[in-house]
């Protein structure tokens, strides 16, 4: 079992910094997802680990071994590219066999290994075909097979499902989870899709402009975002945010000003800040209480400005004074644009962020 550890890793392209001082631990035998918006340095990070790019500074350790100066081959990692990068002139069999041939394995052994992996990925009837004769999903499997034949210490995936349609994506997600459990190998998986991250990851590392914004188990990050970036990146529809001030404290909870003279009582970790400190209040759409569900006290009157019916759910956009909120109601909820509705923000579900965007 091999873990991957990055320490103060840096990489720039000319003047453009891509990775700016990243500390990261991908636990052994687990699936770690690197999540972040496009351009935040995910691919660069993966290529640094694979040895396809050279770090400007910092350490890369695989299984405790410093690998900065080792070639990709010596690092014993396998990378699956976003574009698959199959060898177009080789059959599927030869694509899978190439790495084994390079390592000097005997023909009979190569044959057996390729067939074993092909069977595992259900591509054993495609071995004689060329990449261009395969569907996107099949090419994707071949790309994974090419990584698997070598039995590497670590798998690196760069947005492997981004070229597939939604149904196939869901199917491949399940398959990757199954493979990961079966192989028990350390995997690092890059994606910008939060659904993929939440469903696949044992451990999520959320990146923001070349830095780690937060790392941890997916639900921890979802429920306890460490800063505004994480709070607003995770969740669809996104967390509601409202810039306001602290009004005081009661029983270890701070009182936060809401429109219409209402208050939210929020528990925080650190020392309570001074009165009138500016803060950002955050609450997820699914945590708002609407209509009859709202209690009597500290309830706001809101106007329904938009209703989006998705079938299973209804997204309701609300305006109450200077605060805009998105709430989630039942698919069949009897709500229409122009309605006036009561809203409550349960304090236990609220998040507070200081002026620098850090969670309080």
């Amino acid at each position: 079992m091999t873990d991957v550890a990055l320490r103060r890793l840096e990489k720039s392209f000319g003047r453009t910094p891509a990775v700016r001082g990243i500390d990261l631990d991908a636990p052994a035998g687990r699936l770690t997802v690197l999540l972040g918006p496009s351009g935040c340095g995910k691919t660069t990070l993966l290529r640094l680990i694979a040895g396809l790019e050279e770090a400007d500074a910092g350490e890369i350790r695989i299984g405790g071994r410093l690998v900065n100066d080792l070639s990709p081959r010596e690092r014993d990692v396998a990378i699956v590219f976003q574009s698959y990068a199959l060898y177009p002139h080789m059959t599927v069999f030869k694509n899978l066999a190439f790495a084994l041939k390079m390592s000097g394995m005997r023909r009979a052994a190569i044959n057996a290994r390729v067939r074993e992996v092909a069977k595992m990925l259900q591509i054993d009837d495609l071995l004689a075909r060329r990449p261009r004769q395969l569907s996107g999903g099949q090419q994707q499997r071949v790309a994974m097979g090419r990584a698997m034949v070598r039995e590497p210490q670590v798998y690196l995936f760069d947005e492997p499902l981004s070229n597939l349609d939604a149904r196939l994506r869901a199917q491949m997600r399940a398959e990757i989870t199954r493979l990961q459990r079966a192989l028990g190998t350390t995997m690092i998986y890059v994606t910008h899709d939060q659904v993929e991250a939440m469903t696949l990851a044992d451990h999520v590392v959320l990146l923001d402009r070349g830095r780690v914004a937060q790392a941890g188990p997916p639900l921890d990050i979802y429920n306890r975002p460490a800063n505004l970036f994480v709070a607003s990146f995770l969740g669809a529809p996104p967390m509601n945010l409202y810039e306001t001030r602290i009004l005081g404290q009661v029983d270890g909870a701070v009182l936060v000003a809401l429109p219409q003279g209402a208050l939210a009582r929020v528990r925080i970790k650190g020392r309570p800040p001074e009165r009138l400190t500016p803060v950002t209040l955050g609450i997820r759409p699914e945590n708002l209480l609407l209509g009859d569900a709202a209690p009597a006290a500290d309830t706001l009157d809101a106007d329904v400005t938009r209703v989006e019916r998705l079938g299973a759910q209804t997204h309701v956009v609300l305006a109450c004074s200077d605060m805009q909120l998105i709430a989630i109601a039942d698919g069949e909820a009897r709500i229409a644009v122009g309605d006036r509705i009561r809203v409550h923000l349960p304090g236990s579900r609220c998040h507070l962020f200081d002026i620098a965007g850090r969670a309080m």
């Binding site: 590219f81 990068a85 060898y87 390079m102």
Partner: protein
């Protein structure tokens, strides 16, 4: 009804245009073939079909001089030039398109500028060089001088083509444990076959047809290539130009080029539309 007529007229006009181009391009070749099959005074009458074709010119080409030797020389020189150019250009293209180093662009343009001087301008200098290397009146000497034309354009064609290949394919090979040599021979070479075939054929035609260097850098018939040999075909007397034999020789040397072009036809089309082809 009206559009159908219009369409037909256009089609006929187009067919006529094609026919005109074909006649213009093929008439000299046809005339050469006809002439090569005639002898004596028939040569000087205008015939659209040879009168009772005779093969004596073709026999004479080989009997009256060592034309077989000349053909062999041409094959060796052109073949050698193509093979060597391909090997060198492939490796050079890999370095120039895939490896970052100082002065890469400068080098690329230097390579191009080599081919820009007119042949006569470098003739005397090249003569000195070839004489110094002891390659005067030899086939390697000719091959070396031809690479001045063939290498620059081959390098450029291959560099342009190689840039089009996705970088990730190469990186996948690196991750699979392949070294530079394996990548060039096992990954790039097969993917670049269309470009290799196109530029290789062009190089072959250049080397096959070249006249000035072949005339200047050879002295005896043992080292002469076909174009020079044809130019030096003489009749029985200084006043006789043996048109029949000259045309027969011309037809003989045109054949391999046509044959090669037909053979590689599909690859050439693929090479000309390169860039549209994706891995």
């Amino acid at each position: 009804m009206k559009t159908a007529v219009k369409k037909a007229v256009w089609r006929i006009a187009f067919a006529l245009l094609i026919a005109a181009i074909a006649v213009f391009a093929l008439a000299p070749v046809y005339w050469a073939v006809v002439t090569s099959l005639e002898t004596g005074s028939d040569l000087f009458t205008v015939d659209y079909l040879p009168r009772g074709p005779v093969w004596s010119n073709y026999v004479a080409v080989f009997e009256r001089q060592a034309f077989g030797r000349n053909i062999l020389n041409s094959v060796l020189v052109a073949g050698g030039t193509v093979a060597l150019s391909m090997a060198v250009a492939l490796i050079a293209a890999y370095a120039l398109s895939r490896i970052e180093f100082r002065g890469r662009l400068l080098l690329l343009f230097t390579v191009l500028s080599v081919s820009m001087f007119p042949q006569v301008a470098i003739l005397s200098g090249l003569f000195e060089l070839i004489a110094t290397l002891g390659l005067y009146n030899s086939l390697p000497g000719l091959g070396l001088s031809y690479m001045i034309f063939t290498l620059p354009f081959m390098v450029w064609v291959l560099v342009a083509f190689m840039r089009e290949l996705p970088r990730e394919i190469e990186e996948a090979a690196i991750a699979d444990g392949a070294g530079p040599w394996t990548i060039v021979t096992r990954i790039f070479l097969p993917l670049m076959m269309p470009a290799m075939a196109t530029s290789g054929l062009l190089a072959f035609i250049i080397a096959w047809n070249e006249f000035l260097f072949a005339l200047t850098f050879t002295l005896t018939n043992e080292a002469r290539t076909v174009p020079v040999a044809i130019a030096l075909i003489t009749g029985a007397s200084p006043y006789e130009l043996p048109w029949g034999r000259i045309m027969a020789a011309s037809v003989i040397v045109t054949a391999p080029v046509v044959l090669l072009a037909l053979l590689f036809q599909r690859r050439i089309v693929a090479g000309l539309t390169a860039g549209a082809v994706r891995g």
